[in-house]
């Protein structure tokens, strides 16, 4: 998936922008995400219903994937069934 690609959730309102990615399937709410919204919504999997937060970056443990949430939703993000986590960023003083 090319950096900059916008993906939409099939199960909720979530939208992400790809910053970094590998060859796996990016999912939200347990369903694969795609550039276009499907005509029929996918069910929200209870295992992936923690929600996504706008402006947060989500990463995998190996640092292969990084997604920026640009629209919040009820589903949580995963890659090939493994949940992504919010990237911890040390707060920096404003420099400009």
């Amino acid at each position: 998936m090319k950096p900059g690609t916008r993906l939409k959730s099939a199960a909720c309102d979530s939208e992400v922008m790809v910053i970094r990615s590998g060859g796996g399937t990016i999912e939200c709410g347990g369903a694969p995400m795609a550039e276009a919204k499907p005509t029929e919504a996918a069910p929200l999997s209870p295992d992936f219903s923690g929600g996504s937060l706008m402006g947060k970056r989500y990463v995998d443990a190996e640092g292969k994937y990084e997604l920026l949430c640009v629209k919040a939703g009820k589903g949580s993000l995963s890659v090939d069934g493994v949940a992504l986590v919010v990237k911890d960023a040390k707060p920096l003083p404003a420099s400009d």
Binding site: P3, G4, M54, L68, K90, P93, A94, S95, D96
Partner: protein, 497 residues
């Protein structure tokens, strides 16, 4: 990824928050996004290949920056202080462009170059009136911003910043919508400076109200801090010096809202920052070091480190007040010698940097070397704990009989003399050594100029004899540009006379 995403997200999450204030005019984030989308219509219709701004800061800068991004053409703010002939040459390099600013001047100096010209008012009004019709905006794979370097040594270079560089910088340094509704950032750097662009992007993504001050004076700056309850500000050292002077001379303003002042763009005199820390004991100061080619800040010295340095008895901690701090967590920095060897702590060499935000690219060529490293041409070193110290431009190094002398080291010693207010060391031609040290000095008000032997003895007592100045001149003031950058070439010319 397109930098317009930053404004789209702000407008989506905080549509009714005031995003920009300029001379009493106010716009919400939703209005700013709508105007940027309106500007796309004008830009596409004009068939312009660039959007240029030849004007002081105003809402037009923000609309042009994001409008150009959405339309997929580079935004190129120009230095309106340049002479007509120099400006015409730059305009020729970006023709055909949609140029916003002083219409009469643009038509006079570049009327035959095929540009579409707008005044600030006509551009803003047209962007506001246009009905956004585009269903597809640029994907942001190309260049977002092109900035001409100041060209103090050669013809200006066209530095390009891609959307990915600028987004990398913002995502790495700013937390989305982290600002309170009452937060306001005072932006006074000109729009053609990288700090003027990064200020708009950072504040927009943080959801912080941007307060523009088109023309700096210390009185206007202090007044605006009070009137808009400004919480954050960025200044260049010259501006902070003048603000400190104004406060000391009794200009009063309620600065209780001012939580954070960041500074950069040139060397901060120690005396100025010490005074500022004392005059504003509740304000956090941040020294930001960065370059156009790195999308702004790559290292910073934070508020706690400033206070620690001011209050410390440990000379190493005290010295950090002159440091630009630690690299951002998202960039790597190395100090290398002329053969490319990475140097250990304490040794001076050229600063190399890499990271997503580092472009290192000019329109003509990329300056990146193997591994994606950008040679900054800045000389410096890191102390035992990794704090970065700058010692000048690598090109300013004085090469005396094969020995490299750093002007900064000589200047720091000269400035310990109580009668000297400012000092600049440059290379002067020498038959014996190729180059030798020449210094231009400014005498502090109310003091007598020290004699030449005294100046030489001071340097000899603190540094090796090769650093002792061969030529000494006294000037009324050293030449600085409007951003507080010392114009060493002019000092060189003064010493050659």
């Amino acid at each position: 990824m397109n930098i317009a995403l930053l404004l789209e997200m702000a407008a989506d999450a905080l549509p009714d928050r005031v995003g920009l204030v300029c001379e009493g005019r106010r716009w919400t984030y939703a209005e700013l996004l709508r105007m940027a989308r309106g500007a796309v219509e004008l830009i596409r219709e004009s068939k312009a290949e660039y959007v240029a701004l030849l004007d002081e800061s105003s809402e037009a800068a923000m609309i042009a920056l994001f409008g150009a991004a959405l339309a997929g053409v580079p935004y190129c703010p120009l230095n309106y202080r340049l002479a007509d002939a120099d400006l015409a040459a730059l305009l020729q390099r970006i023709a055909p462009a949609l140029v916003i600013g002083d219409e009469a001047r643009i038509r006079r100096i570049a009327g035959d170059q095929g540009h579409t010209v707008h005044s600030r008012e006509s551009f803003t009004a047209a962007a506001q009136a246009a009905t956004p019709s585009a269903d597809e905006y640029d994907s942001g794979e190309g260049v977002a911003v092109q900035l001409f370097t100041s060209g103090t040594t050669a013809a200006p270079k066209a530095a390009i910043l891609r959307h990915a560089n600028l987004i990398g910088y913002i995502l790495g340094t700013v937390e989305f919508a982290s600002a309170d509704e009452s937060d306001a950032a005072l932006v006074v750097v000109p729009p053609y400076h990288i700090a003027g662009i990064s200020a708009l992007l950072s504040s927009c993504y943080a959801g912080r109200r941007i307060v523009l001050l088109p023309a700096f004076s210390p009185e206007a700056w202090l007044e605006l801090v009070e009137a808009e309850r400004v919480t954050n500000a960025f200044v260049v050292p010259t501006m902070l010096g003048r603000i400190v002077d104004a406060l000391e001379n009794g200009v009063s303003a309620d600065l209780s809202s001012l939580q954070a002042v960041a500074y950069g763009g040139g060397k901060m005199p120690l005396e100025v920052i010490r005074k500022a820390l004392t005059l504003l004991p509740d304000t956090g100061f941040t020294n930001a070091y960065g370059l156009t080619e790195t999308s702004s800040t790559i290292a910073l010295l934070g508020p706690d480190e400033h206070r620690a340095a001011l209050g410390s008895a440990d000379p190493a901690v005290q010295a950090r007040l002159a440091s630009v701090g630690q690299p951002l967590p998202t960039v790597e920095i190395e100090i290398r010698d002329e053969d490319g060897r990475v140097l250990p702590a304490g040794e001076e060499g050229e600063i190399f940097v890499r990271g997503d935000q580092v472009s290192g690219e000019y329109k003509e060529r990329s300056a990146l070397v193997e591994g994606g490293w950008f040679p900054t041409r800045d000389a410096g070193y890191r102390d035992a704990e990794g704090y970065l110290f700058l010692s000048g431009r690598a090109d300013d190094v004085i090469v005396r009989g094969g020995e490299n002398l750093s002007p900064g080291e000589i200047e720091d010693v000269l400035l310990t003399h109580p009668a000297l207010a400012d000092a600049c060391a440059v290379a002067v031609p020498s038959i014996e050594w190729g180059e030798a040290v020449g210094v231009a000095l400014v005498v502090r008000e109310g003091h007598e100029a020290p004699d030449h032997d005294e100046v030489r003895e001071l340097v000899r007592s603190r540094l090796r004899s090769s650093r002792v100045p061969e030529r000494i001149v006294f000037l009324d003031a050293l030449p600085y540009n409007e951003m507080g950058k010392l114009l060493r070439r002019q000092v060189k010319e003064a010493l050659a006379r």
